[in-house]
């Protein structure tokens, strides 16, 4: 079982990145596109080979999928604590390899058409490769520190790609926002890592996740403020995950991140990087589940559920199609989180875990597809706004069909991929927590509604006057659409419960027909409403807007979260903390030092008049001094 070749999967994009980055100016754009695609194609093939080998050839022993680790020391902290670099092969990492590979490859191909003629074509592919490298590194990480390292690297690739149109101020500030918000979350992650490292003495997932290992068994040994320190650590780590996965209230960067080129949104902000948070929780799932009886896991569940609901509500009111998709992403990520949150560990109990991973997989396909379709539409009409679109089905048939497939998939209509994964999630939620279940069902309805709202808004509805007649995108762009659409259709039939489960043993999952019926019903209801409101021009939608009144306004302004954050950063952090510190430094700290200097000068200024230049003064001082000295001496002698 030699799997050292797996190291090549991340390394090839890295080499491509270095190549394109260093010879940026000297490479013809067309060549760089081919190099990028080719590099990723190799990685993709290797990923598929790995998956085949792992799942079907050697992965299983005694009915349980084994974890294979190959690693080498990267840096020593102490005699026992070190950062290792290596690859870890287990079901979720292999699954993530597949997800990343497919989406990334599709996006690479798509970008060749989408970015054609752009100034920074080579740079774009370089950054894409950097991102792919980081993402592969992240999913293959063997320990917390390695995942943190790649975590930061995906963060920075995301920063670079969001700020790709760097002359546009909105893109610059969006990139900055994304990086700083996620960095803030990473602070929690890092502190969590430090705590884990200190109290368990290891960063290795194998050691940490072993249900019979010291880390999990001794969770109660140290407590802080009523909770085990490990619970705190897991909560902090979850904050890191929540930052990347745009969970409430760290979600504000995701909608703005849509300033990046659309392929980037598809790759990073829909399919891969944003699921890193979910992946992180899944990666540490045994710890979440066993430490303090899943206290931290409950938090994950509620945060996920709330984010799902919150984002879905906002998505209904947005008019920028990419933002609708962004909030939809956030909502679906909430879904995955809540699925993890309601999951158990053994066998069928771990349904939530399996469902979450399943949904992650399916979502990656159809959400990437949605974004790429949106990109195709934007490419055609040169606008992000719903009001500039309408009736495009005639001009862009392929985009129309693929978008419809994706929308049906996300709405949970059988037999598309979303139906199966969402159904498993709802079943898991129903079995563990009814409240979360109802939230889930409601969100499913909302999802169907807003997704078909934009679908009808774009492809049906009133035809807008276009300056240039929109046309279907080139084959390099539609090919990925078709591939992803195909995957969105058949993806649901993959028997995930055989492969990816919490205890790695696999189980038989069955459809729960009553619950599935409810979910499908709600989805169809949402689609029906959207049909009624938006398929043809009518004023039903406006009536609804008026009906909800101020609530609509809040929602479309995203509940003013951006403003709150802006207030905290600009008003409080910049003006109430930073500016006073800068002033304090100038005025008091520096002032004291300069003051000491000035006092010295002042003193000498004062005493220099003693040196008046008048001989008489000196003579007087001399005489008086002699007299005084003599008196002193006499006094001392006589005593």
């Amino acid at each position: 079982m030699n799997f050292s070749y797996i190291i090549l999967i991340p390394l090839i994009p890295l080499v491509v990145f270095l190549l394109l980055g260093i010879f940026n100016q000297r490479i013809k754009p067309a060549v760089s596109g081919y190099v990028g695609v080719l590099g990723l194609l190799t990685s993709t093939l290797l990923s598929f080979y790995t998956a085949y080998q792992y799942f079907f050839v050697y992965g299983k022993a005694n009915g349980v999928y084994q974890t294979f680790v190959e690693k080498t020391v990267w840096m020593n902290f102490t005699e026992t604590l070190a950062i290792d670099m290596g690859v870890l092969v287990d079901p979720i990492s292999v699954m993530m390899l597949i997800v990343v590979s497919i989406v990334s490859l599709m996006v690479h191909i798509y970008s060749r058409g989408y970015m054609k003629g752009d100034d920074g074509y080579t740079k774009f592919f370089a950054f894409l490769s950097l991102f792919s490298f980081s993402m592969y590194g992240l999913v293959l990480a063997t320990n917390l520190f390695q995942i943190y390292i790649f975590w930061e690297l995906v963060g920075v690739s995301s920063y670079l790609l969001i700020g790709y149109y760097y002359t546009k101020p909105s893109a610059v500030s969006a990139a900055k926002k994304a990086f700083i918000v996620t960095r803030f979350a990473d602070l929690g992650f890092l502190i969590g890592i430090l705590i884990v490292g200190y109290y368990t003495g290891t960063y290795d997932f194998e050691m940490l996740n072993n249900p019979e290992g010291n880390a999990i068994l001794n969770w109660a040994s140290t407590s802080f403020m009523g909770l085990s320190v490990l619970t705190w650590a897991l909560i902090l780590i979850f904050i890191g995950g929540a930052g990347k996965s745009a969970m409430f209230p760290l979600h504000i960067w995701l909608p703005d991140a849509m300033e990046g080129p659309t392929p980037v949104s598809a790759l990073i902000h829909a399919a891969t990087m944003v699921v890193a948070g979910v992946f992180l929780v899944a990666r540490l799932f045994p710890m979440y589940y066993f430490v303090e009886n899943g206290f931290a896991l409950n938090i994950v569940a509620y945060v996920g559920a709330f984010s799902a609901l919150f984002a879905a509500i906002i998505a209904v009111t947005q008019t920028d199609i990419k933002r609708v998709l962004a909030f939809s992403t956030m909502s679906q990520l909430g879904y995955m989180m809540l699925a993890l949150g309601v999951s158990g560990y053994d066998g069928h109990e771990g349904l939530g875990y399996m469902a979450s991973m399943f949904h992650l997989f399916a979502h990656a396909m159809f959400k990437a597809l949605l974004f790429l379709c949106a990109g195709s539409v934007i490419h055609a009409v040169h606008s992000n706004y719903l009001k500039d679109m309408g009736g495009l089905r005639k001009y862009m048939p392929i985009t129309n069909i693929t978008f419809l497939i994706a929308a049906l998939a996300i709405a949970g209509v059988p037999p598309f991929a979303g139906f199966f994964s969402k159904d498993e999630i709802l079943v898991a939620a129903f079995e563990h927590n009814k409240l979360i279940y109802f939230v889930g069902v409601f969100v499913a309805g909302l999802t169907a509604f807003y997704m078909f709202r934009i679908y009808f808004g774009i492809f049906w509805g009133k035809e807008t006057k276009y300056e240039h007649k929109p046309h279907e995108s080139p084959i390099s762009m539609t090919f990925p659409l078709m591939v992803l659409a195909l995957l969105s259709i058949v993806g649901g039939f993959i028997p995930f419960s055989k492969f990816v489960t919490a205890d790695k043993a696999g189980f038989e999952a069955h459809l729960n027909y009553p619950l599935a019926a409810v979910a499908v019903g709600v989805g169809l209801l949402g689609i029906g409403l959207a049909w009624a409101f938006y398929k043809n021009e009518n004023n039903l939608a406006d009536k609804m807007v008026n009906f909800f009144g101020p609530f609509y306004k809040w929602t479309s302004d995203k509940f003013y979260f951006d403003e709150i954050y802006l207030f905290i950063t600009k008003k409080i952090l910049f003006n109430r903390v930073s500016a006073p510190i800068a002033k304090f430094d100038k005025k008091y700290v520096d002032g004291t030092m300069v003051g000491i200097g000035n006092k010295t000068v002042w003193t000498s200024e004062k005493i220099k008049s003693l040196q008046s230049g008048k001989v008489q003064d000196y003579a007087f001082a001399f005489i008086a001094g002699v007299v005084v000295l003599v008196l002193v001496f006499i006094y001392m002698w006589t005593n």
Partner: protein
């Protein structure tokens, strides 16, 4: 001639050769040759060190001892361990890069290069000395040329800055001298011969009362040059006024003398004092870390931003040293190295930007990525390195510091650690702010469109600094292990 004394001799020879040069062209060629030789020697030293270390397990290797002032038992006593080797390499690289960056130094080139090399003599001497007094002498040699370099070749209120810097550092030296003499007079409690030799002093136990008295003096004396809050204010003004190469050398190397001195003298010779006082200085260092970062957010002058960022980063070094364990000490040394390369790179880039646009005010700049892509891209990379991105040296250093600092269990240390850790977010804020305003966005001034592209010597200077940053960040193992090994005898003293 032994391998270490050459580090003093070669610069002296360079200076002698410089005296006979005429004009910029000859001066820079001579300095370049001198610093290239120095650079080669530093690399050779690394290999020689590994070779020697394999057969020699003394604390210091390549030692040599010559009496030069008998009455007070002052020796020219030199030797290196892994830490000094790393710092010597840093110095050689930064000096070489500094020569490249000063390629077009048109005013009084000869005098400029002479001062620069005198400064480097001080630094080299400081890192190889094992005798407190000799160390102090070299320390002063390093500080004095700063006055000339800033006062003559500087910009802006240069006289004021030069004066402020020199006076504050001199003040610190005075305090330091008291500390060193305190150590000297307690170096033999049983009434034997007094000594300045660090290794010998470390073997005797200085009375606890004396340690408590002299630790703060020694610590502050060294830490002022390491920009300890609230004695950091010389640094923003000094850096802002200094010419590019001097800023590089100063922030990159000279400020490292502080951390190194604290470690070699204050911590090593006065361990009980260190433990007694650590809480107090941890508070100062923590304030410095977070305070420097916040102060940097509001600055508009590029050099001020970088200077405050140095306050923050070097605060981290002192913070790590005060944590008194191997991991954090390793982090402190790595952070010194990493900050040395990074900040030198920053100052080099700022110098290039200033040379082209004639302003350092961030608000006047914009869209530079479009007009000078190479410099701007490297600035972004340096920025990312500075905010502790994995793959660059800063990350390696900071993680060591944090993991080390986290080994203390009690609440005080925990809080201090978490505050310091949170500085990484603030760092991101000010770095990205500059990157966003200055490099990205639309080109603000049409005059920028004709800016000169990067030249070969600038590229060389940049690459010299960038390679170690990336090297340390990607493969930290050999360096970190070399330092860890050298730390061993030092940590024994504390435990």
């Amino acid at each position: 001639m032994d391998i270490l004394t050459l580090f003093i001799i070669v610069p002296i020879l360079t200076i002698l050769a410089l005296v006979f040069t005429k004009g910029l062209k000859q001066a820079r060629i001579v300095s370049l040759i001198g610093s290239l030789v120095q650079f080669g020697m530093a690399i050779n030293l690394v290999f020689a060190y590994f070779k020697e270390r394999a057969v020699n397990s003394d604390i210091m290797v390549f030692t040599k001892d010559v009496v030069w002032f008998k009455e007070f038992n002052i020796h020219y006593n030199i030797g290196v361990d892994g830490i000094s080797v790393a710092l010597l390499l840093l110095t050689a690289i930064v000096v070489l890069a500094g020569v490249f960056i000063s390629w077009k130094m048109n005013d009084l080139p000869k005098e400029f290069f002479v001062s620069l090399i005198v400064l480097s003599i001080g630094v080299y001497g400081f890192f190889i000395s094992l005798d407190l007094f000799t160390m102090f002498v070299f320390f002063e040699i390093a500080v004095i040329p700063m006055y000339l370099l800033i006062g003559i070749w500087g910009t802006g209120p240069k006289e004021y800055s030069a004066m402020k810097l020199t006076l504050m550092l001199m003040g610190a030296s005075a305090v330091l001298l008291v500390g060193i003499l305190g150590i000297y007079f307690n170096s033999n409690a049983d009434g034997g011969a007094l000594t300045f030799n660090i290794l010998e002093i470390s073997k005797v136990s200085i009375p606890i009362e004396a340690q408590k008295l002299f630790f703060p003096l020694t610590f502050i004396g060294f830490a002022v040059i390491g920009a300890l809050f609230p004695f950091h204010t010389w640094s923003p003004d000094g850096h802002a006024s200094a010419p590019t190469a001097v800023s590089m050398l100063h922030a990159g190397v000279l400020m490292k003398l502080g951390g190194y001195g604290v470690f070699r003298v204050a911590m090593f010779l006065l361990p009980e004092g260190a433990m007694h006082w650590s809480w107090f200085f941890i508070i100062l260092a923590t304030i410095g870390v977070i305070y420097g970062a916040f102060a940097a957010i509001k600055q508009t002058d590029l050099k001020y931003i970088n200077a405050y960022s140095s306050v923050s980063h070097l605060g981290m070094v002192l913070f790590a040293l005060l944590m008194l364990n191997k991991t954090s000490w390793n982090g402190a040394i790595l952070q010194s190295l990493s900050h040395g390369f990074m900040t030198a790179l920053f100052f080099a880039l700022i110098g290039m930007i200033y040379e082209r646009t004639h302003t350092r005010d961030v608000t006047e700049l914009g869209g530079l990525l479009k007009v000078i892509p190479f410099i701007s891209a490297i600035y972004v990379i340096a920025g990312l390195a500075s905010l502790g991105l994995p793959g660059f040296s800063g990350f390696v250093a900071e993680m060591n510091i944090f993991v080390g600092a986290f080994e203390h269990e009690d609440m005080f240390y925990r809080v201090a650690t978490i505050i310091s850790v949170s500085a990484i977010v603030v760092t991101a804020v000010y770095i990205l702010r500059v990157v966003g305003i200055m490099l990205m966005g639309p080109v603000k001034n049409n005059a920028f469109l004709t800016l000169e592209k990067v030249t070969w010597y600038e590229k060389l200077g940049i690459m010299l600094l960038l390679i170690p940053i990336v090297g340390m960040g990607v493969a930290p193992l050999w360096l970190s292990d070399m330092i860890l090994e050298s730390l061993h005898p030092f940590i024994q003293g504390v435990l």
